[in-house]
């Protein structure tokens, strides 16, 4: 699956990628209204990662439904819409509007954007905040509801649990880590927004740990992400407990990554005689290892 905000609205990649083949396209975060986002500089590279503070520039839900959705349906994409509200009411309103639209397959509830004050992270950082948003949205939609969790918390598993209790159909994790970079020559932050979200391979070990923790805390499916760049990385998340994975930053580096991931995973499953991906999910073996004489 293409991670939110890392694939535009999907249509941008239509001639590079067969959108029907990549599981699902998660839209950029949508508000009710259009947003211009933060002024540049909006990204900066860091060791094995990047910071972004895009500020959720977007066309708003109505234009999305009018201008993007028909094209995406034509291309056969599975559309997960990432919604972002400034208030509980806005989340509910977004869910209601999108539930009536043709070709929406699920809602990913972004309660974890670190880059904007009203980015819902206020909801995502507290248990009842998460519970309230999810249960309110569940009331107004028939669509699968998938809250997307922030990693910037002390205990992500308990937040996943409250999402489950509120009726979430699955949870996505992780969003980006709140971070910062300073240009020492000018002594100014490198991002216009001062702080931004860290993504990419750098965060993968933390994200894998969080998936592992959540797998043991909830029964609903987990959608894992954070630094996935190879089939091995994707498999690591699934073995840790993810039923599906999303790829964000790595898609910027290689827009043709999708077929490589699928081939790599297929190859792995053949080598290990694994018939269905589900056999892998959460299959990490934490018993101690016995030793063998590896001829070196």
């Amino acid at each position: 699956m293409a991670a939110s905000g890392c694939f535009g609205y999907g249509v941008e990649y239509a001639d590079a990628v067969d959108l029907a083949s990549i599981g699902a396209v998660v839209s950029k975060g949508l508000f009710m209204k259009e947003r211009s986002g933060h002024p540049p500089q909006r990204i900066v590279e860091t060791p094995s990662g990047m910071l972004n503070a895009i500020g959720l520039q977007g066309i708003g839900v109505h234009r999305y439904i009018k201008e993007k959705l028909p094209e995406l349906r034509r291309l056969g994409a599975t559309n997960v819409i990432n919604i972002c509200g400034s208030t509980l009411d806005e989340y509910v309103e977004l869910a209601r509007v999108l539930s009536d639209a043709e070709g929406v397959h699920a809602l990913e509830i972004n309660i974890s954007c670190p880059n904007i004050k009203e980015g819902g992270i206020t909801f995502g950082c507290s248990l009842h905040g998460t519970f309230d948003v999810v249960s309110a949205i569940k009331k107004v939609t028939h669509l699968p509801v998938i809250p997307k969790l922030t990693p910037n918390v002390t205990d992500v598993a308990s937040i996943a649990k409250s999402a489950e209790d509120a009726g979430a159909d699955a949870v996505s994790l992780v969003n980006t880590f709140l971070a910062m970079a300073i240009d020492v020559e000018t002594r100014r932050p490198k991002l216009s927004n001062i702080v931004g979200g860290l993504s990419g391979p750098a965060i993968r070990p933390i994200a894998v740990r969080m998936v592992y923790e959540c797998r043991r805390a909830v029964k609903i499916p987990l959608i894992g992400m954070g630094g996935i760049a190879t089939a091995t990385d994707a498999l690591e998340f699934m073995i840790a407990g993810a039923t599906a994975v999303q790829v964000g930053t790595a898609n910027f580096v290689d827009p043709f990554i999708w077929s490589k991931l699928l081939d790599g995973m297929r190859d792995y499953m053949q080598r290990h005689g694994i018939a269905r991906v589900t056999e892998l999910v959460g299959s990490v073996d934490t018993s101690t290892r016995e030793k063998q004489w590896i001829s070196s």
């Binding site: 990649y13 540049p40 990047m50």
Partner: protein
């Protein structure tokens, strides 16, 4: 549609302590590139650096008619440009393109005035060739810090492209910014169009682009400028590369310069 090529380095020529021209075996891309388009480049392997970087296609290489590859004109300012500067024959550079909106060409009797600042020269080799091929009278206004940083002068001259130079230290051409000779020539050509139409093309640091767009407007000439924004993906995915553009309603909106540009009408941009 863009392609991704693991391009072998054919040759790497250093022009100065900062500038180099690197030849890459990426004929598929070179063949499809229109003047003003760019490639997203990642030298070496491994995750450091992580992201690709945008570079204009400088020359399209041909051997007896066949396209064999392309070159990049690179100025060393950081990780990737240092790797490109140090690259040796046989290394590979992964190269994604062609990307972005190209320049719009003009035909005689209109004239083409290309204005380059430093490494902003890059897109004008292919543009100049394309214009000359259509018989369009083409002039290159080319500015740099000093004469030692003016490159490929013969290359352009030999193709019948007229040169107007400026250096900040006055070691070659006018002393000062490239807008000095540009404004003089615009004045001479006269805003009353005693000279046929002129299209001003510009590439270089943004403050230069702003100055060029303004002076062109002042003398009633249209301009196309190629902007340089930090780009994360080059394909419209990340929204990092936006630039404010005037919209219909008289307001402004952020447009992704990787797919909405990098070439814009000078008159459309909002100079923040």
């Amino acid at each position: 549609m863009p392609v991704d090529v693991e391009a072998r380095v054919i040759r790497n020529t250093r022009l100065s302590p900062d500038y180099n021209v690197i030849e890459l075996a990426a004929p598929e891309i070179a063949d499809a590139t229109a003047p003003g388009q760019f490639v997203m480049v990642k030298p070496g392997r491994g995750g450091d650096p992580l992201l690709r970087r945008p570079f204009s296609v400088f020359e399209v290489l041909r051997e007896d008619g066949r396209v064999t590859g392309l070159t990049l004109l690179s100025k060393r300012i950081g990780v990737t440009t240092t790797l490109l500067f140090d690259a040796v024959e046989g290394d590979t550079v992964s190269c994604l393109g062609p990307l972005g909106k190209p320049f719009e060409l003009v035909d005689p009797p209109a004239q083409a005035w290309m204005v380059a600042g430093g490494v902003g020269l890059a897109p004008f080799a292919t543009l100049g060739e394309a214009l000359v091929a259509r018989g369009t009278k083409t002039t290159l206004f080319y500015g740099a810090r000093s004469g030692k940083e003016l490159f490929y002068l013969d290359w352009f001259a030999s193709r019948g492209i007229e040169l107007k130079l400026a250096t900040e230290d006055g070691t070659n051409g006018d002393r000062g910014r490239i807008t000095v000779p540009l404004e003089r020539e615009l004045q001479r050509a006269g805003s009353e169009k005693t000279v046929p139409d002129v299209m001003v093309y510009a590439c270089g640091p943004e403050p230069m682009l702003e100055a060029v767009a303004h002076v062109a407007e002042k003398y009633g000439r249209p301009s196309q400028v190629s902007v340089e924004r930090v780009m994360g993906c080059g394909m419209g995915g990340c929204y990092s590369c936006v630039i404010p553009v005037k919209d219909a309603g008289g307001g402004q909106q952020y447009v992704r310069s990787c797919i909405g540009g990098p070439v814009f009408k000078g008159a459309d941009l909002v100079w923040d």
